[in-house]
């Protein structure tokens, strides 16, 4: 659809439009969550999921997602970003059974994906910063992303994902970022997802 028609239809439907971007470190469950939201409100998945890091190496987009929660409505464009890392080592991928050539190719695509993700951070209207609650939130990437969002005055929700796992510690994420809203969820099992939808719905008004 041309951008003019998109603009026109957005203008005619009074629903507020927002780009909902999933960002964060690699392998935290961004695509799993993007798919969950896509299925719940548009009946469609967005991105493949994998235990191998850097599964998302190109930005994936799902438009016209009619989000609603408790009578609050938004027209979302869901943008699933490649995970951001400060290092990419092809040898890591060989641990998952990729051969050298495949691993090197994946590494090359992963570095490009990170550059793309950073370049497109300005498309964010609302960010879901997805963190893995089984890991110590020690990595600079989280701080860099949150700092950049604050500087640009972009609204965001910190999602503490994977709370279904026994070693998860969403409280540690909340303690590390006491001034921010942290919503603990399991994107895989759906646990806590209603609280996340309530938090997203706050942006409708």
């Amino acid at each position: 659809m041309s951008s003019l028609t998109t603009m026109l239809s957005r203008f005619l439907s009074k629903k507020k439009h927002a780009n909902l971007c999933l960002i964060g470190e690699v392998n935290t469950g961004k695509s799993t969550l993007a798919n969950k939201i896509g299925i719940d409100f548009a009946g469609k998945e967005i991105s493949p999921v994998s235990e191998i890091p850097h599964e998302t190496r190109e930005i994936a987009v799902l438009e016209k997602v009619d989000f609603s929660n408790d009578g609050k409505e938004l027209e979302l464009t869901i943008i699933d970003m490649p995970g951001i890392a400060t290092q990419v080592d092809w040898r890591e991928f060989t641990k998952y059974g990729l051969n050298k050539e495949e691993a090197m190719q994946r590494a090359k695509e992963a570095t490009k994906g990170i550059v793309e993700a950073i370049k497109h951070l300005n498309t964010i209207d609302i960010a879901l910063v997805v963190m893995d609650s089984t890991k110590v939130p020690f990595d600079q990437v989280n701080l860099t992303l949150l700092g950049a969002l604050e500087m640009q005055k972009k609204p965001f929700i910190i999602v503490a994902n994977k709370i279904d796992l026994p070693n998860s510690s969403p409280d540690l994420i909340q303690e590390t970022f006491p001034q921010h809203k942290v919503v603990p969820i399991s994107a895989l099992k759906g646990e806590g997802i209603d609280r996340l939808y309530q938090a997203i719905a706050q942006f409708a008004s």
Partner: protein, 114 residues
């Protein structure tokens, strides 16, 4: 793979350079296996730029990226590293494959495996 040395870059030198030259100075040093300490914390946007430029330089065998710490951004960070040290502002950039990083009782500890 072993770290060669440590470069301390004063703020005055860094801020005299254009963005391009500034990131080159940092990444040339890190890709030659030095740890770089900068006399100020990088801004979040500078960190994103640095990550992008790092990714453009990643090379299968010679350079796998960086480990990055900007200690100002950890202020107000509750229990996290240097959480209470409001006056400490510096950034550390290390070659990712040559150091291990640990938080040892609040001290950012870069360990060089032999």
């Amino acid at each position: 793979m072993t770290v060669q040395g440590v470069d301390f870059i004063p703020e005055a030198i860094l801020d005299r350079l254009e963005a391009e030259a500034r990131f080159d100075l940092i990444l040339n040093s890190v890709s030659q296996k030095n740890v770089v300490v900068i006399e100020r914390a990088l801004e979040p946007q500078e960190e994103l730029d640095l990550i992008s430029r790092t990714m453009q330089r990643v090379d299968a065998d010679r350079f796998t990226g960086i480990k990055l710490f900007s200690l100002k951004s950890r202020v107000n960070g509750g229990k996290s590293l240097f959480g209470r040290s409001k006056s400490l502002t510096f950034s550390v950039i290390a070659p990712s494959d040559s150091v291990q990083v640990r938080d040892v009782g609040g001290v950012l500890s870069l360990r060089i495996p032999s």
